[in-house]
Amino acid sequence: MSRLVPPDPWSALRARTPARIAIGRSGSSLPTREVLAFSLAHAQARDAVHTPFAAEQVAAGIEALGVPTLRVDSAAADRATYLRRPDLGRRLSDASRIALAAARGPADLAIVVADGLSSTAVHAHAAPLIAALLPYARTEGWSLAPITVASQARVALGDEVGELLGARLVLLLVGERPGLSSPDSLGAYLTFQPRVGRTDAERNCVSNIRAEGLSYDRAAFKLAWLMREALRLSATGVSLKDESDIEGLPEAIAQPAIARDLDEPRSP
């Protein structure tokens, strides 16, 4: 704190949350130190949005787990188009559509890895999360389509991919829109009977998968629960409420599972 800004007496509470609490005040306003810290975080998040997606490396990391992958592109040719044209990011390019049709299932589950708005998140978390998910798929006996790695892709791209692959369920892992304190947050969207035209209300979401948020093991546990229930109920979305019980896990605490679309933002 500067000499002119007395500390808030509740600064000990800062250990309980990543939120910017007990930051003091200069009169009514933010202290200088906080204004500059915020500016730096914003600059870092802005830069993270535009980091190029290393799709080949991500695919190699997944293949190292012993599962085949396919590379596809959305109809958005570059990042600038992607940001202004979400409709293009939701559909496959013509070439990718043809390539996927050749890999048609049937399969119980198709996993899609999409760069979304943070390729940083996908680089860091996609392969480790898939590694945590594969044992559940094996235990349940689910048949897997090849894992699809998609560039310039939004959540709804999973509908077309899942439909082409003949999957009962599509799980799309996507880089969430970067926050000031979380440039690398991964989201997971689950859609039963994927086909072009599914709405957000027909999906379930597990959000904030990253080191400071939801761990790989806990995210995988929750997703496996949701996938089992989705296959049992033949539905995802608002009719599938997350009531997974995670008391059996060490360090169990309540964790996210929401139908909130972070790469195609709307009112929260």
Partner: protein
């Protein structure tokens, strides 16, 4: 109906009311994405000129979204009050702008007019108003609502305390709530966007806030922003639900993409009111909206995003909400590209909502993939406060660590209070004084250790 505007040697034609409204809209990326925006600056102004000559009555006879296929259209037209409309029923859109800015448009006259206006009229006139017109006209509209305190009185501005936490951790949420209360925020609502949609987690969050509100006798209300069907479930499970939340939009199909219908909203309203938890009123609904949500859901029917946003307020007001929040910058650059578009949209939304009688607050916000920063947020916050905005958000340090976007901070609220002399809801203001969080002048008292609020932490 074709609308025509002639400028010099050029004649501009607009194919129907929806096309005219879209071409007359101030530029924004969402309308361009939908392929309905004006393609030149002159076409934009030509459309404004043609729109100014359209009689307000036209909007009653020519629905933008067909009555037969859209329950929002049916709600809007079936609930229109011709008697309330009478004072302006002979005016064109252009004359209506003049009337709104005239001495005839007093606070009382505007309050009487609200049920006589439909959202399309509000949207139309907003398109030919400059920012200063939107600010001045909105400042004359007051919408007062009540639950445990009184929101929207002249000279006041409330703040939603938004204590989100990435994993809904109770201690983390509590820390942010205490921080906000000690910064004098939380009169609109203490409202959590949960990371989870697990009903037992949501119930725990509701009990956490209820305990705090009861223990310290805070004259405010709480809300967990979850789907209306979850709120109804929680009410049935005996959870302490104050406000029932839902995101809504301006068409039936867009609402379907949120998993709601008007009948479901009615169920939510009934469930919330059945608990009778309000002490000074029974406005129990909290709605959030945002330009672009209908297009995002592929449910826009060729209508521009600002007009559809006004239609969402037509939905909201039918349920007598305590709070309606336009989350203006959250949607992203494909709908509102930069600070200029976000600022314009925020002022339009606030004006249209207030004119229609909805208690409009604005989440002055932006995302990291939009061309905007906190300077733009300062501008919009200041303009909205001058326009009499009902409430804004209070997020610790303006950084929402769960939803990953930048909003306004507790400090921002203090800044506009100091600048413009805006008070809090009176019941909450008195409570802050009793707990000596504020001094006699309503400003924050010097922070002291051992405050009773902290003893409970």
């Amino acid at each position: 109906m074709t609308f025509v505007s002639t400028i010099g040697a050029t004649t501009w034609r607009f194919d129907g009311l929806a096309d005219l409204l879209a071409k007359a809209s101030p530029p924004r990326s969402g309308d361009a994405l939908a392929g309905i925006a004006a393609t030149s600056a002159q076409q934009n102004v030509a459309a404004k000129q043609a729109l100014a000559d359209v009689p307000l009555k036209t909007f009653l006879s020519e629905p933008l979204v067909p009555y037969e296929i859209d329950e929002v259209t049916r709600l809007i037209l079936d609930s229109h009050d011709p008697a309330a409309f009478a004072p302006v029923s002979s005016l064109t859109v252009g004359e209506f702008r003049d009337w709104l800015l005239s001495e005839a448009a007093t606070q009382a006259a505007l309050a009487r007019l609200a049920s006589g206006l439909i959202p399309e009229m509000a949207a139309a006139v907003s398109k030919i108003m400059r920012n200063q017109d939107l600010i001045l006209a909105a400042s004359k509209c007051r919408v007062v609502t009540k639950f445990r305190n009184t929101i929207g009185l002249p000279g006041t501005m409330a703040v939603r305390l938004q204590p989100n936490h990435p994993t809904d951790d109770p201690a983390g949420v509590t820390a942010s709530i205490l921080d906000g209360l000690l910064y004098g925020c939380g009169d609109a609502v203490i409202g959590i966007n949960p990371a989870s949609d697990n009903l037992s987690v949501l119930g725990d969050l509701l009990r956490l806030m209820d305990d705090l509100i009861q223990r310290f006798e805070i004259p405010t209300q709480s809300c967990v922003l979850t789907h209306v069907t979850s709120a109804v479930d929680l009410v049935e499970r005996g959870a302490p639900v104050d406000l029932v939340f839902q995101s809504i939009a301006g068409t039936e199909a867009a609402n379907a993409s949120f998993g709601v219908t008007l009948a479901l909203l009615r169920e939510g309203l009934d469930a919330g009111r059945s608990l009778k938890r309000g002490t000074v009123g029974d406005n129990v609904m909290y709605f959030e909206t945002g330009q672009g949500s209908a297009l995002s859901a592929g449910a826009h029917h060729g209508v521009d995003q600002q007009t559809l946003e006004a239609r969402a307020y037509g939905v909201a007001r039918a349920f007598e909400p305590l709070l309606v929040n336009s989350v203006v910058g959250f949607i992203g650059p494909e709908y509102l590209y930069d600070g200029k578009q976000i600022i314009r949209a925020g002022l339009e939304d606030h004006f249209c909502g207030k004119l229609l009688g909805a208690p409009l607050g604005v989440d002055v916000c932006h995302t990291n993939h939009a061309e905007a920063d906190q300077d733009d947020m300062d501008t919009l916050l200041t303009l909205l406060a001058a326009a009499g905005v009902t409430f804004v958000m209070g997020v610790p340090g303006a950084d929402d660590v769960m939803l990953n976007y930048q909003s306004t901070s507790f400090h921002d609220a203090l800044y506009v209070r100091e600048l413009l002399g805006l008070k809090r809801a009176p019941e909450f203001d008195a409570w802050l004084g009793r707990l000596r969080i504020t001094g006699d002048d309503g400003r924050l008292a010097p922070a002291r250790a051992g405050h009773p609020l902290l003893a409970g932490a």
